[in-house]
Every structure is written in structure tokens, then in C-alpha cells.
């Protein structure tokens, strides 16, 4: 099949561009483990408050500088409401929903995941600079969605 010369050049350029994009994304995923949060475990959404560790949501210290934070998203709040960690802390968040679909996002940190009833979401972040970070629900969940927020304080 004959293809116009200009078109061939244009398609070659586009092909190289997309191949570079794919290589970058794939390298970041394989080498640095930069992958979207996926398939941690399932949970019965009607029994979240009886299921450990979500029966007692909150921050757990694993070792120096290493923390795990367990969150329950419920219309229209997060539990816990506030956690406090030292600067440099690496925090792994585990979140689940006790009712509808929610979001879990700390803007400008790369902490961002959907929270789906029936599943536990997990995402990790190192908080290097002190400050108060806003944690918000970023998936519409009902009439009070715009008020659904919590805080991460880094000291």
C-alpha cells in the first residue's frame, strides 16, 4: 500500500514519540516501582467496623520513620480525622469505604487513590517537609462531599 512521504515521516515521528513515552512509564514502573495502587485485599463493606485493623483506624508506628495509617472513609468524613508524623516519615496508607465510592487524595503529594467498597486501597508517601497537609475525598460521594476532609500534620 502506497503511503504519502510526508505522512510516513509524520507517523514515524509519532511512533517514536509514543515509544519513548511508553519506555519512560514502563521503566519507572519496573525500576522504581511507580505503579498505580492495585489489589491489596478485599473486605466486607458491611462489616468494616468489626474487621481488624479497620475496627480501630489510626496511625501505627512500625519502626523509626516507618508508619502505617489505617483509614475508614464514611460519608462525609475520614477516620482518623488527624494524624501527626515527624518530618521524613514514610507512611503507608490503607483505606477502605464503609458505604459508597470515595476518593483519598493529599494534593501535591502524589497520594491519590479511589476507595471502593469491598476493597482495601493502599498508597505510600514520604513526608519530607513539615506542614499541615489537607487530605480530601476527591470522588463525589453525596450531598456533603465538599466537606469530606482530614489532616496530616508533619512536625
Amino acid at each position: 500500500m502506497h503511503i504519502h512521504k510526508g505522512e510516513r515521516l509524520w507517523l514515524t515521528f509519532a511512533f517514536i514519540m509514543m515509544a519513548v513515552f511508553l519506555a519512560v512509564i514502563t521503566t519507572a514502573a519496573v525500576v522504581d516501582g511507580v505503579v498505580p495502587p492495585s489489589r491489596v485485599q478485599t473486605i466486607d463493606p458491611t462489616k468494616v467496623s468489626q474487621t481488624p485493623p479497620f475496627d480501630k483506624p489510626g496511625l501505627r508506628k512500625v519502626s523509626d520513620g516507618e508508619y502505617e495509617a489505617y483509614y475508614v472513609a464514611r460519608i462525609f468524613s475520614f477516620s482518623p480525622d488527624t494524624i501527626t508524623v515527624p518530618a521524613g516519615a514514610h507512611v503507608t496508607f490503607y483505606v477502605t469505604s464503609a458505604d459508597v465510592e470515595h476518593g483519598f487524595s493529599i494534593p501535591e503529594t502524589g497520594v491519590n487513590t479511589m476507595v471502593t467498597p469491598g476493597w482495601v486501597s493502599s498508597v505510600a508517601h514520604t513526608f519530607r517537609t513539615p506542614g499541615t497537609f489537607l487530605l480530601i475525598c476527591n470522588e463525589y460521594c453525596g450531598a456533603g462531599h465538599q466537606t469530606m476532609a482530614a489532616k496530616v500534620v508533619v512536625e
Binding site: H4, F21, A29, P36, S105, P107, E108, G118, Y140
Partner: protein
């Protein structure tokens, strides 16, 4: 050709024209309502107004999304492809199936709209379970989709009739583009119809719960090809009708068909790129869908080449050279050209933003932020809407034989839309990069520090939204003015398919084997989804009960 047209064919053509025109006018009025809601949202998010309880923000946002993304586009596309099929296949035909489709779509739209406006379905156009809307909403959405199947059947039946009558001949290009789009659409809508088979009994209280992750997969199996349903109709106009506005040609018949075949094959197996942050989908399948999405970039890149080539070739034949020569040659004062052309400029931003969104880990930065809202306003709200509006300015006079009312207003309208959309979508993209969430009535978060940078962007977005809403108003004035004024055009208004360029290569016969490509498209869709759906069914026996949280 004209000498062979008999009376039956004339009657048949007039009834086909009326069918298409009714679709186009319906789309126009829906755009007017959706545009009003859009503007109120912009003002509301910028804290300039507060919506009353009896017509709250989320109800209005759901109405805006459903009316614009699902209703306006679908009515226009069904009307347009019905017209382009009828126009390119000469035949004495019945339009009964087309009318049944229209009525079923209209009934579905009415049901869903009543459910939304009464406040019983503030669930957004994505209607994520386990938020449970009234059954009326799910029935309405199902009828809207079912109505399109009648239109699809009508278009495909005409193409099959043509093939039987003319063995060895190529399917006329406009009918080919319509048929390819509807085959893609039928494969895509299977997903949402299966989802409805879960949602409807559940909303009626017959089943106790819903597998949320599965319902999300079924939605996005449909949700991304929905985007291509819009895009393919816009591309069909760019390829076949826009060049005729400046005496140009279709760059290549073969390239146009190839583009649509790739869109047919790759529109569906990419939906998981809307679910990169879903906890229930494995990272391997997410990566696979990234690769497939990168593949579906190519037909758009080919379209950009072919459409701009058709501009340049026509300019050269008129003795104009170079970039500025081509720009000066094009008919920027014709709204039928300027609408789609301005849309193409917006789509440069829409296309590149789309690559970011579909890039696996990069999506983490923008997922569910205003960036996404900015993105789809320079895709469906830019190239798609401006192309449909531009085409409407030609189709209404052509189909009704009326003179277009206030053509200067029409010209102002498309430029105003372009400027408004540039301002609004730039502000939205930027707000998204700053972390501002979408689908939120208020971004102040009680004055929280992290939210301080978002409000100024919302003011810019409200300004852009006001310009677009003014533009929508002008569009409604021109469209309804044309109808009410009822002034017969002295010369029959033209909206003709451009001829194929004489230098273009011949079209290989294989490209017309639509049945074969349909089977491949279906196989690809199954391959892309069998894995993640099986994983979900194996992993996850928990069902979520429905609830009303608004």
C-alpha cells in the same frame, strides 16, 4: 443523477431529511439547557452564587453531564449519520426504524431527566454504585441506549442493501464512516447494558447488593468508546464535509477508511485507563490498557495529517504557499468551517492532555482533579461540540430549505465559544495540577491552607463559562430564529461531501470487509476484559448494599 430520481425517491428523501432535522433540533435544545446548567456550576464553584436546596449543585452537575455527554452528542450523532447514510446511498426507503429509534431515545431522555431534576438521581453521568438512583434513571438511560440501536440498525441495513445491489463497488465513504462508528458503538454499549442488568433489579430492591468494582469495569468498558463515538462523528465531518467549504478534496479515501477501522478495533480495549487508581484492578492489566490507548492515538495523528493536508493542497492549488498562505486561504468567516477548525486547535491540547491521562502512573497526579474536567472540555466540549455546532449551521438550512437566521451571530458564536473554552479549560487544567478536586460544589475546605490556591482558578473558569454560555445562547437564537422566521432560501443551501483528491491512492477492497473487522474488534474487547473481569469475580464475593447519600 438528478434525472433518475423519481417521485418516490423525492418523498423518501424528504422524510429522511425531516428525521435527521428533528434529531439535530433536539440536540440543539438539549445543548441550550446543558449550557445554562454549566454556567451556574461555574458561578457556584467560584462562590459567586449559592444554589438553593430545591435545585442543589450536584443535581445540576448530574443534569449537565448527562445532557451534554450522553444526550446532546447522541442525538446529533444519530441524526448526522442517518443523514450522511441516506445522502450517500440513493434509495427509496422507509424511515420507520429511524423514527422508532428517535422516539425511544426521547422517552429515555425524558425519564432520566425527570429522575435527575426531581433530585432522585444525583449520581453524576457515571452513576457509580452503590449510590442508588431511582429506577426511573436507570430505565431512562437504558432506553436512550436502546434507541440508538434502532438508528444503528437502520444505517447498517442501508449499507448491507447497497452491498447486495452493488457487488464489487466500494461502500460510499460517508455511509462507510457511519457504519464503522455504529459497529463500534454496538460493541461498546453491550457493557453498559450488562451493567444495567445488575443495576435495575438492584434499584428496584430485588437484589441485595452490587459488586462495585465489576460495575465500574462495565461502565468504563462503555465509557471510553463513548468518547470515540463523539470523536468519530466529528472526524467524519472533518474528513468529508469541511474540505468542501473551501473547494478542497478528501486527502485520501483509503487513509480515511483505515483510520476508522483502527478506531473500530481499538476504541474498546482501553477502558481501564479510567480506572488506574481502582484498588480492584491489577497493575498488569492497567499497563496493558495503557499500551492499547497509545495505539488509539495513531488514528488521531493520521487524521491531523490528512485534514491539514487537505487544507494545504487546496491552498497550493489556489496559488497560496506556506503556513501563513494556507491560513489566509481558509474561509474563517464561514461558521461551518470556523467551528470545526477552531475545534481542531482545541483538540491539540485535548489530545496531548489525553496522553497524560492514559499514561499509567502519570494519571496519579491528575486523577479526579479539575485537570480531567479541563481535558474533556477541550475534547467533547471543544472539537466535538464546535464541529457539531458548525455542521448544524449547514444542516438546518440544508434539511429545512430555510435561510440561516443572523449568520453573523453564528460566526461570533463559534469564536466566543473558542475563547471561552480556552480560558475555562486552561484554568481547569491549572487548578487540577494544583490538586483541586473535580465534582465538588465548593473548593474552600473551610479555608484550609492546601486549598488556598484553587479559588482564583475557579474565578477564571467562571469567566470562561459565562462566555461559553453566552455563545450557547447565540446558537439557540440562530437555530430557533431560523425555524421561527421560516424564510425560504433563494438558492438551495449547500452542504456537500468533498470529492476525493485525484492524486490519492486507490482504496484496497479489504477495507470494506466490515463484518470481518467487527469480529476482530469484538475479540479484542473480550481479550482486554476477560482477564480483569475474571480476577474480580474470583477475588471478590462481597456485595455492597445501595444507598442514597444526597
Amino acid at each position: 443523477m438528478a434525472v433518475t430520481v423519481n417521485r418516490d425517491e423525492l418523498v423518501s428523501r424528504a422524510s429522511g431529511d425531516l428525521l435527521a432535522l428533528t434529531h439535530i433540533y433536539t440536540a440543539t435544545l438539549v445543548l441550550g439547557l446543558g449550557g445554562l446548567f454549566g454556567m451556574l456550576q461555574g458561578f457556584s464553584r467560584a462562590n459567586l452564587i449559592v444554589m438553593p436546596d430545591w435545585f442543589d449543585y450536584y443535581r445540576m452537575l448530574t443534569a449537565h453531564g448527562v445532557l451534554m455527554a450522553l444526550v446532546f452528542t447522541t442525538f446529533f450523532i444519530c441524526g448526522f449519520f442517518t443523514w450522511s447514510t441516506y445522502q450517500s446511498i440513493e434509495r427509496t426507503r422507509s424511515v420507520t426504524v429511524g423514527w422508532i429509534g428517535y422516539c425511544v431515545m426521547l422517552l429515555g431522555t425524558a425519564m432520566a431527566t425527570v429522575a435527575i431534576l426531581s433530585g432522585d438521581a444525583s449520581v453524576m453521568y457515571t452513576f457509580y454504585a452503590p449510590m442508588k438512583a431511582s429506577p426511573l434513571f436507570y430505565f431512562g438511560a437504558t432506553f436512550l441506549v436502546a434507541g440508538t440501536w434502532f438508528t444503528a440498525f437502520d444505517v447498517l441495513e442501508n449499507v448491507v442493501w447497497f452491498k447486495r445491489r452493488n457487488p464489487g463497488e466500494r461502500i460510499p465513504l460517508p455511509a462507510f464512516l457511519a457504519a464503522t462508528t455504529f459497529i463500534m458503538w454496538i460493541i461498546a454499549t453491550i457493557g453498559v447494558v450488562i451493567e444495567m442488568l445488575f443495576l435495575i433489579p438492584w434499584s428496584l430492591g430485588w437484589t441485595p447488593g452490587i459488586d462495585v468494582e465489576l460495575s465500574r469495569m462495565l461502565l468504563w468498558y462503555f465509557g471510553h468508546p463513548l468518547v470515540y463515538f463523539w470523536i468519530m462523528a466529528a472526524y467524519a465531518i472533518w474528513y468529508t464535509l469541511v474540505p468542501a467549504r473551501f473547494g478542497g478534496h478528501i486527502f485520501s479515501d483509503a487513509l480515511t477508511r483505515t483510520t476508522f477501522i483502527i478506531l473500530l478495533l481499538l476504541s474498546t480495549p482501553v477502558g481501564l485507563h479510567h480506572q488506574f487508581l481502582d484498588p480492584g484492578v491489577s497493575s498488569g492489566w492497567k499497563w496493558m490498557h495503557t499500551v492499547a490507548t497509545y495505539g488509539v492515538v495513531f488514528p488521531s495523528i493520521m487524521t491531523a495529517f490528512a485534514v491539514f493536508a487537505s487544507f494545504e493542497i487546496a491552498a497550493r492549488r489556489a496559488g497560496k504557499r506556506g503556513f501563513f498562505g494556507t491560513i489566509a486561504f481558509l474561509p474563517w468567516k464561514d461558521p461551518v468551517f470556523a467551528g470545526p477548525a477552531l475545534g481542531m486547535i482545541l483538540f491539540i491540547f485535548g489530545g496531548f492532555g489525553g496522553i497524560v491521562n492514559s499514561s499509567y502512573s502519570m494519571d496519579i497526579l491528575v486523577h479526579n482533579t479539575m485537570w480531567i474536567v479541563g481535558h474533556f472540555h477541550v475534547t467533547v466540549g471543544g472539537p466535538v461540540a464546535l464541529t457539531f455546532i458548525g455542521a448544524t449551521y449547514a444542516l438546518i438550512p440544508k434539511l429545512s430549505g430555510r435561510k440561516l437566521f443572523a449568520p453573523q451571530l453564528a460566526l461570533v458564536q463559534v469564536y466566543l465559544w473558542f475563547v471561552g473554552m480556552m480560558i475555562m479549560s486552561t484554568a481547569m487544567h491549572w487548578a487540577g495540577l494544583l490538586g483541586s478536586p473535580r465534582r465538588t460544589s465548593d473548593v474552600s475546605y473551610f479555608g484550609a491552607q492546601g486549598a488556598a490556591t484553587w479559588h482564583p482558578e475557579m474565578l477564571w473558569a467562571a469567566l470562561g463559562g459565562a462566555l461559553i454560555a453566552t455563545s450557547v445562547l447565540l446558537f439557540i437564537i440562530v437555530a430557533t430564529g431560523t425555524y421561527l422566521r421560516n424564510e425560504r432560501a433563494a438558492v438551495p443551501p449547500s452542504f456537500e461531501f468533498a470529492p476525493v483528491d485525484a492524486d490519492a491512492m486507490p482504496t484496497p477492497a479489504i477495507l470494506d470487509k466490515l463484518g470481518r473487522f467487527a469480529v476482530i474488534a469484538l475479540v479484542l474487547a473480550i481479550l482486554a476484559y476477560a482477564g480483569p473481569v475474571t480476577q474480580e469475580l474470583q477475588a471478590h464475593p462481597y456485595l455492597a448494599p445501595g444507598m442514597r447519600t444526597w
